[in-house]
Amino acid sequence: MVATEYYVALSAVLFGLGAVGFITRRSAILMFLSVELMLNAANLAMIAYARQWTTAGGSQALQGQGAVFIILAVAAAEVAVGLGILVAIFRNRASTDVDLLSEVRA
């Protein structure tokens, strides 16, 4: 069985990639992809810990898996709304560059 540490390390790497991607990318679509990457990195960490708890016979084993399902559902909803907004923005400006969306700053 692969040790939990490897999963957690992979999760950290994925999260870092997502975070860097979110900060450096200017296209809103790619920023969404980065957000998904970070969410799934978190999911990976959670099911890895859940598996470790199950092996150890802990009673909270299912909580980690449940949280993952909730995150998946929320992420799906967020993408649906976010993409809708993105489409609307794109129709108005023919671009999804977020750096250009700063008219309301003080």
Binding site: A19, F22, I23, R26, M31, S102, V104, R105, A106
Partner: protein, 644 residues
């Protein structure tokens, strides 16, 4: 008094309600009514009020002591319980008849005078409201209700003086009248406080009935008397509060006739006559009243000499004539004051309305120097004005003669004034009577007689007014001749008005004048008129006004034109210091308070600037900040873990 009689008399209490209804109709719906209709409604309600007053008057038994109409309870606190009610007695009936009767004629006149004015219905709404307030004032059975009417007429006066409010002078004149009247109102309020302190009641009948039991000449009564004098001086334009009345001529002429000649300005006379028993017990206060009245009469007569505005001459004349009335009530001759009030209401309303007709015919011209010879083109108006002029001058057989003669006689024979300068007062009033005849001759001659001094084009347009305006003049002219016969001197005939008013207001004690001195008095007043009119004839007809021109351009003329400088004195003594204080405070406000407040905002401003710097609108910046924050938190937690 039987029930049916009481019921008839109580009808008079509906008069103010009628006027109020007329005011509400015109005020709310007047705009959608076609032109003569608001005027007809307003005139009808006042006419109906007059009929009710007449019914009450004829039903009223001459020896009765008043009928009360209870309206409701106003407030009760501690010892003070206040019922609102009307008191219908001989005095209030006379006043009600004057207000509704003269008021009706002036309303009818206004239908023609205000023709085509943009504020036609507003005018009648306010005029009706005035009549309602004035009736409340005279019918009130307690001081607080009287005060409500007192303030009501003040408001209506303000509204109607600044009726054409788009011109700043008119609005200023209204404000001036209102502010000067506040001084008098403060006097009224303080007088009420002191009355309650001394008598424990604010019911007028209770107070006047209790007054004789209080020590003669006591300080409390004198104080009350002086405070009510302040109130009367404000409303009745007596020295030194007379300054508002000449400016009040900014209002439409019917307003000047109704409010600033016939009714409202005489409220002070009514007030003092109503509470006569207080003054009868306080000779100091009574003498002060008489002196104020006489000085006012003299000063205002002097000011009338050099005025050039057709209405301002009459305004000063009104101040002077009200001074006569105040002098009469100060002497304790309450019925005489009311008698002159009655005759004056007729001839002064007549004079104002005829000057209104002239202004109307000349298309707004008010300067007597550009008039002259109008009597030939406006026969009815000219004749009516002549009758009014002769009546106010005091020509024998006209009303003004009888009332002025009664004032002079009572000034001399009053026991209240004995030893307090009654001879001087008499002499000053006699001089004023001469002056009255003189300036009224000048007024009439400059406007109606002599050669026209206006342009031919204007002259050709001058024509007699429509009958809706000339008929009220005729009625008032007839009244100006006849009402004097209600109060004949004892040596000539029966004095109806004294007999009528006797049961309610009585009078202070007088030394009885022998018939020979009464005749002397009559001769003296005839001589005064003759001298005044003769001087006027000499100056303006024989001398062709050359002397008047020379005097008028000198220092005396300027003094007279400026109303003896009262405005300048008020400005220097009251307005300027108040303005200086206000200027000083505004510097404090601007330089200290404002700066402190503005300075206290500076740190907030700085914080805001710092905060806005973060709000760049760059999503990736925000994400970076979030990440950095999360990292810092994680490091902190880890460090705590390691340390523990």
């Amino acid at each position: 008094m039987s029930d049916s009689v009481t019921n008839l008399v109580q009808l008079a209490a509906l008069a103010p309600l009628l006027a109020l209804v007329g005011s509400i109709i015109n005020g709310l719906f007047g705009r959608s009514l076609k032109e003569p209709l608001p005027g007809i409604i307003a005139s009808t309600v006042v006419g109906a009020a007059f009929v009710l007053a007449l019914v009450a008057f004829f039903a009223y038994p001459a020896d009765a002591l008043g009928v009360r109409v209870h309206l409701g309870s106003f407030l009760s606190a501690g010892d003070l319980s206040l019922d609102l009610g009307f008191m219908i007695d001989q005095l209030s009936l006379v006043m009600t008849l004057i207000i509704t009767g003269i008021g009706f004629l002036i309303h009818v006149y206004s239908i023609g005078y205000m023709h085509g004015d943009a504020g036609y219905s507003r005018f009648f709404a306010q005029l009706n409201l005035f009549v309602a307030a004035m009736l409340v004032l005279v019918l009130a059975d307690s001081f607080p209700l009287m005060f409500i009417g007192w303030e009501g007429v003040g408001v209506c006066s303000y509204l109607l003086i600044s009726f054409w409010y788009t011109q700043k002078e008119n609005a200023d004149a209204g404000r001036k009248a209102f502010i000067v009247n506040r001084v008098g109102d403060v006097g009224f309020l303080l007088a009420m406080f002191l009355t309650f302190k001394v008598f424990g009641s604010l019911d007028i009948q209770t107070v006047t009935a209790a007054a004789p039991a209080i020590m003669f000449g006591s300080v409390a009564l004198t104080g009350i008397g002086l405070l009510y004098l302040v109130a009367a001086a404000g409303k009745s334009a007596q020295v030194p509060l007379q300054v508002w009345l000449p400016d009040a001529m900014a209002g439409p002429t019917p307003v000047s006739a109704l409010i600033h000649a016939a009714t409202m300005v005489t409220a002070g006379v009514y007030l003092i006559a109503r509470i006569g028993p207080i003054y009868a017990q306080a000779p100091g206060a009574a003498a002060t009243v008489a002196w104020v009245g006489v000085l006012t009469a003299l000063i205002a007569a002097f000011c009338a000499f050099a005025q050039t505005d057709i209405k301002r001459i009459l305004a000063y004349s009104t101040i002077s004539q009200v001074g006569f009335m105040i002098a009469a009530v100060g002497a304790g001759a309450y019925w005489v004051g009311i008698f002159h009030l009655l005759t004056h209401a007729f001839f002064k309303a007549l004079l104002f309305l005829s000057s209104g007709s002239v202004i109307h015919a000349m298309g707004g011209e008010q300067d007597v120097r550009r008039m002259g010879g109008i009597g030939a083109r406006m026969k009815i108006t000219g004749t009516a004005a002549l009758i009014g002029t002769l009546a106010i001058a005091g020509v024998p057989f006209l009303s003004g003669f009888f009332s002025k003669d009664a004032i002079l006689g009572h000034e001399l024979s009053s026991n209240l004034l004995a030893g307090r300068g009654s001879e001087v007062l008499f002499a000053l009033l006699l001089i004023t009577a001469i002056a009255t005849a003189f300036y009224m001759f000048r007024w009439y001659y400059l406007v109606f007689a002599g050669e026209p001094r206006h342009e031919r084009a204007v002259a050709e347009k001058i024509h007699e007014t429509p009958s809706v305006m000339s008929v009220p003049l005729v009625v008032l002219a007839i009244g100006s001749v006849l009402v004097g016969y209600l109060g004949l001197p004892a040596v000539i005939g029966r004095n109806i008005i004294e007999e009528w008013l006797e049961p309610v207001i009585g009078s202070a004690p007088f030394t009885h004048l022998s018939s020979s001195s009464e005749w002397l008095l009559i001769i003296a007043s005839i001589a005064a008129v003759a001298i005044g009119l003769g001087a006027g004839y000499w100056v303006y007809v024989v001398n062709k006004g050359k002397l008047a021109e020379r005097l008028g351009s000198g220092a005396l003329g300027t003094l007279s034109r400026n109303g003896l400088g009262f405005d300048a004195v008020n400005r220097a003594l009251l307005t300027k210091p108040a303005e200086s204080v206000a200027d000083g405070l505004s510097v404090l406000d601007r330089e200290v308070l404002d700066r402190a407040v503005v300075a206290s905002a500076a740190p907030v401003d700085l914080l805001g600037k710092l905060a806005t710097a973060w709000q760049s609108g760059q999503v990736r910046m925000y994400a970076m900040a979030m990440l950095a924050g999360a990292v810092v938190l994680a490091v902190l937690v880890a460090a705590l873990e390691v340390l523990s």
